[in-house]
Amino acid sequence: MLDIKDLTGGFDGNEIVKGVSLKVNPGEIHAIMGPNGSGKSTLSKILAGHPVYEATGGTVTYKGKNLLEMDPEARALEGVFLGFQYPVEIPGVNNAEFLRMSYNALLVNRGEEEIDPLDFDEILDQKMKTVDMDPKYKDRFLNDGFSGGEKKKNEILQMAVLEPTLAILDETDSGLDIDALKTVANGVNRLFNKDRALIVITHYQRLLDYIKPHFVHVFSDGKIVETGGKELALDLEKNGYDKYIASGN
């Protein structure tokens, strides 16, 4: 589904991602772990098409298409979803209305008709239950004044509604208490199936107790320096990244 080959890139001529190769097949969950500032978010933003971050080399193929050539909105419409590490606040834009517009954009892209607002409301209510979100958040402005945890839940709500094929979750677990973490992991697992794929970026092995990865990648200084199974996460938690950082320099 996703094939990243020798990808390099960054912002303003600063190379942050320094040669990443990663293959993700349908039905797979990949975890990426690595120290602060190693370039994990930069990689995810290059994949989502953020205008500040540019790929300078390598290729990214998604469902057989050159992902890097697509506009960010086209990537979203083709089923790529980035759960942001730091979701922006957008005062003045209604949370539920925005999500309906987004949902409709997907429908229209598939050649279907826009959904009746009342029908959408039903879907939304049901999805909000699965992530344990109070209905009052429908009428709030998008992420405006949300706590860190509420913002992350809102990201997962969006994912639950939009049902992406490839979700990249950038530290969605940071800022969540254990109950919220379980709820969020539940929401993610519910969505996951053999046709979909997931990349979770995290600092905490704890998340991987609930979202069970097939592969764990260690990310250091812009590169994947080690790949293993679930046990790698436990090792990282115990021994830290020191040996990878040392080898990186």
């Binding site: 500040v52 979203a76 922006v88 003045g92 925005f98 517009m101 987004s102 954009a105 997907l106 892209n109």
Partner: protein
């Protein structure tokens, strides 16, 4: 020295005085005659301002020095104005055409008991009203308000007696007919008195039928002790039109004013707002939003005088400027010596959608009392890249995402408009302008 106008080779001063002389000779004497004379005298004192004049820093006054030919007040029928009437105001509607009160177009059947409406000519028969207006012209600092006094021949006077809590919302619809060719001027004048402990809701809407008319109005609102006034002024003029207005508000003890101004954009709109918080406990709130494109211009000049203790004022302007449009806000709050415990906040936010658009802000404070809490500030920004990316990453097109963000910028002002039908029109029509630019 002022420049000469193209057609006559006279200075704007000379041309105006010349046409005023003719105007006075032609018209038969009326209750307005002495106001007209005083207006012309005040104009002579003030002179015709150029862009070096501190009140007109951002305004090209030359473009309205166009002969000052008074519009004749042509025939207009109900069908022509129907689209300008807000729903809910059909039976509390007061119509002025080229500054003249039109009984046949107005409908007062829903007006609350005791509310009195008379034409300007009738109102000026009352010596107290005449004295108030004449003395306000003698103190006038705005040349265009003096010109209005020099030429106005009618208008309307609305009297809301003490303790009347109005159920209906009155719409004052000032129509410019543009019927008699290019460059004609009209001089609407509105005087509203809200009696002690009364509550009033008023919408003032400017609209034009055609042409590049110049509407130059003066509005006085006298708010009694403990009284409340909700006012929204909406400029929905023809695109080529020029619209200058001077609004004077007098707030008495414990009175409340909550106002909004909405500019749909025209060749040149200028709003001069003067508010005097005369007695303790009065409260002034004012919000303004403008959405401009092409070469449209809207300029706000505001002076808020805190003349008594324990009053508060809160002003918020938002302008969205696209293409080569221009906006400016020149707002000063003056806190007089006796106005202790004043609270005042002024904020100006501008959103630039194009490199060629301009938005000038001059928020200012003059404080002569020592125990006050006053703030002022302004921002100029573009569409936020991170917000834009967030929306696009959820599948929204660039155009839709930009529109959504621009609307969200206006939202905090739009949602304060107390009148649902005005708000709806703003959302459906004014904010549509933002979509038209999506390309």
């Amino acid at each position: 020295m002022s420049s000469l106008t193209a057609e006559t080779g006279l200075t704007p001063e000379a041309e105006l005085l010349e046409s005023h002389k003719k105007f006075m000779e032609d018209k038969s004497s009326s209750n307005f005659s002495s106001l007209n004379k005083i207006g012309a005298q005040q104009f002579e004192k003030l002179g015709y301002p150029n862009s070096k004049h501190e009140m007109f820093t951002f305004v090209n006054t030359k473009s309205v020095a166009t002969g000052f030919v008074s519009a004749k007040g042509s025939e207009v029928n109900k069908g022509q104005i129907a689209e300008f009437v807000y729903s809910g105001c059909e039976r509390s509607l007061v119509v002025l055409v080229d500054g003249q009160y039109r009984e046949n177009l107005s409908d007062l059947s829903d007006l609350d008991n005791g509310v009195k409406l008379v034409s300007g000519e009738e109102a000026l028969a009352d010596s107290k009203i005449r004295e108030y207006l004449e003395s306000s012209v003698q103190d006038e600092n705005d040349t265009f308000a003096a010109i209005n006094a020099a030429f106005c021949q009618d208008g309307l006077f609305l009297d809301i007696p003490a303790k009347v809590v109005m159920q209906s919302t009155i719409q004052i619809l000032a129509i410019s007919s543009g019927a008699n060719g290019e460059n004609e001027s009209s001089y609407p004048r509105v005087l509203v008195r809200v009696g002690d402990l009364a509550e009033a809701k008023i919408i003032v809407r400017y609209a034009g039928l055609k042409g590049n008319y110049f509407v130059n109005s003066v509005q006085d609102f006298l708010i009694g002790n403990g009284a409340g006034l909700g006012l929204v002024q909406v400029e929905t003029d023809q695109k080529e039109a020029r619209n200058f207005s001077k609004t004077r508000l007098i707030l008495n003890r414990d009175s409340r004013f909550s106002g909004a101004n909405v500019s749909y954009g025209s060749a040149l709109t200028r709003c001069h707002l003067e508010a005097r918080l005369k007695a303790t406990g009065s409260e002034f709130r004012f919000n303004s939003v403008g959405v401009l494109e092409k070469k449209e211009q809207v300029h706000h000049y505001m002076r808020v005088y805190h003349e008594a203790a324990q009053c508060s004022s809160d002003m918020h302007f938002k302008n969205i400027v696209n293409d080569q449009s221009r906006s400016s806000v020149d707002g000063t709050v003056i806190v007089e010596q006796d106005a202790q415990l004043t609270n005042s906040d002024q904020l100006i936010n501008n959103l630039l959608l194009s490199d060629e658009a301009h938005a000038d802000s001059k928020p200012n404070l003059i404080i002569n009392a020592d125990d006050v809490k006053c703030t002022h500030g302004n921002t100029v920004g573009q569409i936020d890249e991170e917000q834009l990316f967030y929306l696009k990453a959820r599948g929204l097109s660039e155009a839709i995402a930009k529109t959504l963000l621009t609307k969200s910028f206006a939202a905090s002002i739009v949602e304060t408009i107390e009148f649902p039908s005005v708000r709806k029109n703003v959302e459906e029509t004014l904010l549509k302008k933002l979509e038209a630019n999506d390309g």
